[in-house]
Symmetry: C2
Subunit: 344 residues, 2 copies
DNA sequence: ATTAGCACTCATTCGAGTTGAGTGCTAATA
DNA sequence: TATTAGCACTCAACTCGAATGAGTGCTAAT
C-alpha cells in the first residue's frame, strides 16, 4: 500500500490529537477537523489502512487508535525536515557562567527540565583533540609526589604518586625537566613504547616514578571514565499517566540515577554527531536501545564549549511529548552555551 | 496515664507486626502472640489506652492500629538503647579502594541501597581541621598561571590564574618560595590580613597574583560549596506501597535528585555528631524537617576517612523500615571505611 | 482484672447491569 | 468508483448493591 496525501494528513491529525490528549483517538474526532471534509466512515477506512501499514494501532478492539513507534518516527521526521525552526518565541533562559563547570551543567539540566516539563540529562564535555600541555611533579611529603597534568583545553588532573625512596628536590626538578621536554605537546598516539623506554632509561633508578606519571598522563588524556552526567526533573515523568505506573516509573528513575546506560546512548549520539553537524537526534521508544525507556522518547543535542569540548544534553519524556518544543529548547540552550564561551 | 510493662510489650508487638506486614494490626493478631497470654478484649482495652496516649492510631474506625510517629520514636529509642548491636551476621560487603574518591562514594551508596532495599545517599567528606600543606604556581601558557593547592588530607585544588603581564620562570619561582615559606602549615584563621599585606608587599608588582592565589587557598580550605551527594536505589521506594503513589514518590524522587534539601539535613546531622561520637541518628517522618519526607524515615551515620575528613551516609525508607537492619548496615560500612584508610 | 459475647462499622471485593465510544461491514448514494 | 449512512457488535469503564470479614467498643459474666 502506498502513503498518499490524504493518509498523511489523517495520520498527522491522529498524532497531533494524541499528543494533546494522551487518549486513543477515534474516527469521529478526526472527521470534525475542518480542513479535511470526510465522514467518520471514510476516516475509518483510511485508519484501517494506516493500521495495516503499521503507523497506528489499537490498544484493544473498540478503542480509538494511537500512534505506533513507526507513526511517531514518521511524524518526527516530517517535522524536523519541515523547516529550520526559528527559536524566537521561546521563554528566555539565561545561563549564568559559573566558575565551576559542574555547576553550569547542573544549571542547564535544571533549565531544560523546568522549561519542558520532561526529565533532562546533560553530560560533561568530552575533550576531543587532546595533547599534553604541561606536567609537574612536586614533593608533597616524605613518601609521595604530586603529579599535576594539564592537557589541551586546560583540563587539569592530579595524581598522588607514592615514592619508595626519599627524594631530594633536585631529583624532582630533573625528572620534571626530563618529562616535560620529552612529552609536552604530544598526543596519546605519539607517546609510544619506544619513547617511554627511552625516558625510563634516562630516569635511571627513578623509572618507576616515570611509569606512574605516564600512567597518569594516559588516564588524563583519554579521560574515559570521568564522563559525568547530571540529571534534573526526574519527577516530571509522574505528570504523564502512561509513565507513572510503578513499574515503568521505577525503571526510568533507576536509569536516570544509575547513569551507566545513559552513558552508552550519549557516547553513541556523540559519535553520530560527527557526521551531521549539530543536528538534533530523536530516539523513539525502543530506538534508544534501553529497555526501561521503551515507553519514552529521548531528544538529544550536542553542545560545544570551547573548541573540541563537546557534550550531550537530552530531554526524556513520554512518546507523546511535544517534540517541537523539546527540539527548540535544546537548540536555544545550544546557542546560549555557544555564545557563553565563544564570545570571550 | 502511665506506660507500664504490659503496654510496652503490646506496643512493641503492634509495631513489629506492622513493620513486617505494612497492614494495620488488630487485637486478635496480637493476642495470638504466645508470650503475652491475653484475650483480644484485653488487648483492645490496652490499645485504646495506647491510642489515647498517642502511640498508635486508627486509619479509620474498624481498622486495626498503626504506629504513630511517636510510637516509632519509642520503638527506635528502645531498640537503639537495647545493647550495642553486634554486626556479625551481616552479608559481607566489600568496599574496594578506588583511586577516585567519587567512585568510592558511589560504590558505597550502591552497597547501602542494594543491601537494604531502601534508597541511600552519601555525602563527600568534609574537611575538618585543614591547613595548607603545599602550594605551587606554574606557568601553563603565556597568559596564565596554574595554582595547585594541597591541604591536609591530600585534598587537591586547581585554579587557573590569568596574568596581566608576561612572567619569566624566575619570578614564578620566587613567588612560589614566598608563598610557601609564609603560608604552609597555616589554617584559615592564621592567614590574617596582616600576613596577607606583608606578603603582597614583598611580591611587589605581582601582588595581584598573590591576591588571586590567596583567594584560591581560602576557597580550597573552606571548601564549603563542594559538598557532593551521591544517591542510589531511589527506585526502591516503589517497593513500599505506602510511598509508591505518584504524589509521594514524585516528592521523594525530586528530593533525592535535587540535593539541596539533603544537604541541610546532612550538615545538621554532621554538627550533631560532634557531640556523641559516631552514633546513628534516626529521623522519623516530620523529624527530618523535609516536607516530602514526611512519610519516610531517614537513618544516618557519619563516616570518617582520614583524620578530620567526615561525611554522612543515610538510608531513606518508609517509616516501617527495618531500623535494625538499616543501623547495622550503616555500622558495617562505617567500619569498612574506617579500616580502609586507617590501616594504610 | 480479665474475658466472652454481641451488635455495630466500614473498607474491600465481587458481579451484574449500564453506558458510550468506537469499530467493521454492507448497502445506498453521488 | 469513491464516499457515506446505517447498523450490529465489542469492550473498557463506571455504577450500584450485596456480601464479606476484619476489627472495634460496650456490657455482663467470670
Amino acid at each position: 500500500m502506498e502513503m498518499d496525501e490524504r493518509k498523511t494528513r489523517i495520520l498527522e491529525a491522529i498524532i497531533r490529537n494524541y499528543l494533546e490528549t494522551g487518549e486513543p483517538v477515534g474516527s469521529r474526532t478526526i472527521s470534525r477537523y475542518e480542513d479535511l471534509k470526510l465522514s467518520p466512515a471514510t476516516i475509518r477506512n483510511e485508519m484501517s489502512d494506516l493500521e495495516e501499514m503499521g503507523y497506528i494501532l489499537q490498544p484493544h478492539t473498540s478503542a480509538g487508535r494511537i500512534p505506533s513507534d513507526k507513526g511517531y518516527r514518521f511524524y518526527v521526521d516530517r517535522m524536523m525536515a519541515d523547516r529550520e525552526k526559528e527559536v524566537s518565541d521561546m521563554q528566555e533562559m539565561v545561563v549564568r557562567k559559573a566558575d565551576q563547570l559542574s555547576e553550569l551543567l547542573k544549571q542547564v539540566a535544571k533549565l531544560l527540565a523546568a522549561n519542558t516539563n520532561y526529565a533532562a540529562a546533560i553530560s560533561s564535555p568530552q575533550i576531543h583533540r587532546n595533547k599534553l600541555k604541561f606536567l609537574q611533579l612536586s614533593k608533597v611529603d616524605e613518601g609521595s609526589l604530586l603529579a599535576v597534568i594539564v592537557v589541551e583545553g586546560n583540563i587539569i588532573k592530579n595524581k598522588i604518586i607514592p615514592t619508595s625512596s626519599e627524594m631530594d628536590n633536585e631529583t624532582v626538578l630533573k625528572l620534571n625537566l626530563l618529562l616535560n621536554t620529552n612529552l609536552c605537546g604530544l598526543s596519546l598516539e605519539e607517546i609510544n613504547l619506544g619513547l617511554i623506554t627511552l625516558i625510563k632509561e634516562r630516569a635511571g633508578i627513578h623509572s618507576d616514578i616515570v611509569a606512574s606519571a605516564i600512567d597518569a598522563i594516559a588516564e588524563a588524556i583519554t579521560a574515559e571514565e570521568d564522563l559525568e552526567i547530571y540529571t534534573s526533573g526526574a519527577n516530571n515523568i509522574f505528570k504523564y499517566p502512561e509513565l507513572a505506573d510503578n513499574e515503568k516509573a521505577s525503571g526510568i528513575i533507576s536509569t536516570l540515577e544509575e547513569k551507566n546506560q545513559l552513558k552508552e546512548i550519549i557516547s553513541e549520539s556523540l559519535a553520530l554527531d560527527n557526521d551531521n553537524g549539530h543536528a538534533i537526534q530523536v530516539y523513539i521508544g525502543h530506538e534508544s536501545q534501553i529497555e526501561s525507556m521503551k515507553d519514552c522518547s529521548v531528544v538529544t543535542a550536542t553542545y560545544e564549549l570551547e573548541d573540541g569540548m563537546r557534550g550531550m544534553m537530552s530531554i526524556i519524556g513520554p512518546k507523546r511529548m511535544d517534540y517541537e518544543k523539546a527540539a527548540k529548547t535544546l537548540k536555544k540552550l545550544q546557542e546560549q552555551l555557544d555564545a557563553l564561551y565563544k564570545k570571550t
